[in-house]
């Protein structure tokens, strides 16, 4: 039974998609707009089922473009909101990820990744949208991307995604994949008082001559919403602190630099990774999402054979833990980066590792997960070769 706040406290046996829906409800999301697309549809189906009983509004829009902007309308009317999609729909949403970044609209984009490009393999997993999540919209901006590897994490990280979106007023991507989305496992939902939910920061000051886009110390301005009498303006054009279009080189530099810097200066509060045995390692396997699970048998096998192998798993793919990779690069002889794509995050590892260390991708075009042997083979070759 749900309590008043809609949280389904207890242990459940559900898949990642459904866990994501429950995470959104627990995070206080009460507006979802979506468009059917495999393998993400179960998320919105559960939302559609549940929302009438928790005070939420779900609408199936006419396409992903509409969904990704309808949520932003809802945010400016005071709701926490998200949309859910997969590859082709994610491609359609790119302009609105940029709009959310430019207008500092806190919102969550869930992408249950499938193999692409184009229609690709609709029912099969991949991690091919990692660079698109970071760079897909035009121009310079920052986003946050989280990579769950289990239904439990789909629940936990959806809450985290909302909290980060609110805290930094950025679009946050939950980068699931078909495997994590359809995997059924035990998911424990804590009581609401044990769930940390970041409450939106609202400006409460004077209405006359106030500056809705004037940042606070953390470079993030507080929110306002329609209907409260502030008579504010929001635009995707380059704008000043008043929110007015100001198309000058100076305003562009100030605004766009801040949009990027607000994540950089708060990096330590955002970046998260898990390490296992990296301190004594000669080789570190860097993983994220489902690949963090397929790599484990390979790492264990190599350790059994006496090799000193560390495991660094990215929780936030973006922002990327550049400093940590740079630090570790001086201690190991190689990084192995298995991904369900032909090499994406591996570029980021290479960029920050420098030239003194070997960086080896273990690429896979997607459609299924890695055979751990492929990862083991790479480890073995680098350690013994």
């Amino acid at each position: 039974m749900q309590d008043e706040s809609g949280v389904l406290t207890g242990a459940h046996f559900i898949d990642g998609d459904h866990a994501c829906s429950e995470g959104a409800i627990a995070a206080g999301c009460r507006f979802v707009a979506g468009y059917p697309i495999t393998p993400s549809t179960e998320v919105v189906e559960r939302i559609a089922e549940r929302f009438p009983f928790v005070g939420g509004v779900f609408i199936q829009m006419e396409d992903e473009i509409a969904s990704s902007i309808a949520i932003q309308g809802a945010v400016w009317a005071g709701k926490k909101a998200m949309t859910v999609t997969s590859g082709p729909g994610f491609s359609l949403m790119m302009e609105h990820i940029g709009y959310a970044a430019m207008t500092e609209t806190p919102c969550v984009f869930v992408n249950v990744q499938r193999a692409g490009p184009s229609t690709g393999l609709p029912t099969m997993p991949a991690q091919g949208d990692m660079m698109q999540a970071r760079w897909g919209s035009h121009g310079d901006y920052g986003i946050i991307a989280l990579c769950p590897n289990s239904p439990q994490e789909c629940f936990d990280f959806t809450i985290k995604a909302f909290n980060l979106a609110e805290q930094f007023r950025v679009p946050v991507m939950l980068m699931m994949d078909e495997c994590v989305g359809h995997m059924i496992e035990r998911v424990v939902i804590p009581p609401p008082n044990e769930i940390k939910v970041f409450k939106r920061r609202y400006y409460r000051g004077k209405k006359k001559d106030f500056l809705p886009f004037k940042p606070e110390k953390d470079l993030v301005p507080p929110m306002i919403k329609a209907g409260d009498g502030y008579r504010f303006h929001v635009t995707g054009l380059t704008h000043d602190e008043k929110g007015y279009p100001s198309m000058t080189v100076g305003t562009q530099a100030k605004l766009v630099t801040r949009l990027s810097d607000k994540l950089k200066v708060n990096e330590d509060k955002i970046i998260e990774y898990r390490e296992d045995g990296v301190e004594s390692a000669e080789l570190i396997v860097i993983t994220y999402g489902i690949t963090s699970r397929t790599a484990i048998p390979a790492i264990e096998q190599a350790r059994k054979e006496g090799m000193k192998i560390g495991h660094l798993r990215l929780i936030t793919a973006w922002p990327f833990p550049a400093k940590r990779i740079h630090e570790l690069a001086s201690k190991v002889k190689a990084f192995v980066v298995p991904e369900l794509n032909l090499g994406q995050m591996v570029y980021e590892v290479e960029r920050h590792a420098g030239s003194g260390v070997k960086v080896e991708p273990v690429s896979h075009a997607g459609g299924t997960v890695h055979d751990p042997k492929e990862i083991y083979t790479a480890i073995h070759r680098l350690m013994k070769g």
Binding site: F31, A66, G73, G227, H233, G236
Partner: protein, 303 residues
Amino acid sequence: MADDVLYTVEAGVPQNPIEDLLRMDRIPHIWCPGCGIGSTVNCFIRGLQASGLDLDKVAVVSGIGCTGRVAGYLKLDSFHTTHGRAIPFATGLKLANPELKVVVYSGDGDLIAIGGNHFIHAARRNMDMTVILINNMIYGMTGGQVAPTTPISATASTMPHGNYEPAFNLPHLAESCGAVYVARWTTFHVRHIIKSVKEALLKKGFSFIEIFASCPTLYSRRNKLGDGLDQMIYFQENSEIKNGADTKSVGVDFQGKIIVGKFVDIERPVYHEAMYGHLKEKYGEEYMPSDEIKEFISGQNGD
């Protein structure tokens, strides 16, 4: 010298009855001399004032283009969104807080070409919003390209040999898709626009007003139709008021007759009320609408 002074404006004192609803710190606006958009904004504000609505609860959403700049000049909660997507943004605003009166104010290219899909679906759903479409029959901001509203044989920068694509008949499109209020005017019909704006704002559901406006810089000049005043004379001499006209019959040819008037004014269940009513009937007390929807609907019913 004194004879040359037509009037004086005292600093800080509103001189124009619509000034309170304009962001005067953003004036002068970007529109060309002779452009009709400014006149429609004047009419919109007067219609809004006449409606008696709580101005703190009115939100205006625009897309991109010349008309897309309207939101930024209105002293209301205003959103300048992406190209073609004002309607779905407005949908999110409205469903999150039905207490807001949501107005979409944008151009023909924005709402009907790139945004056409959203237009037809919002009308189908009878989403509670007023859509004001300024039809200048051309893409103005980008330099005079053909629009889905450009009449056959008119010239545009991307139809340099004359247009051979048929134009949309927008009142017919809106009515066919389910709009509950459909009116069309030209910038010549200022009093009619004001009245229609007031009616549309007070109408529940998807209300639609098309306003023909001159684009002297990119439409009239290229088509050798003179300036803004000449286009106004065209509107005056060639428009005919036919309230209740069959929308099938109101298509507009190049420099042809423009049938104007209020064509549609019907009742149909509004989206958020239909949602509330259906779920309430099905689930009774178990249904938990959002606080905003619950308060708004019970306020309306006088509960």
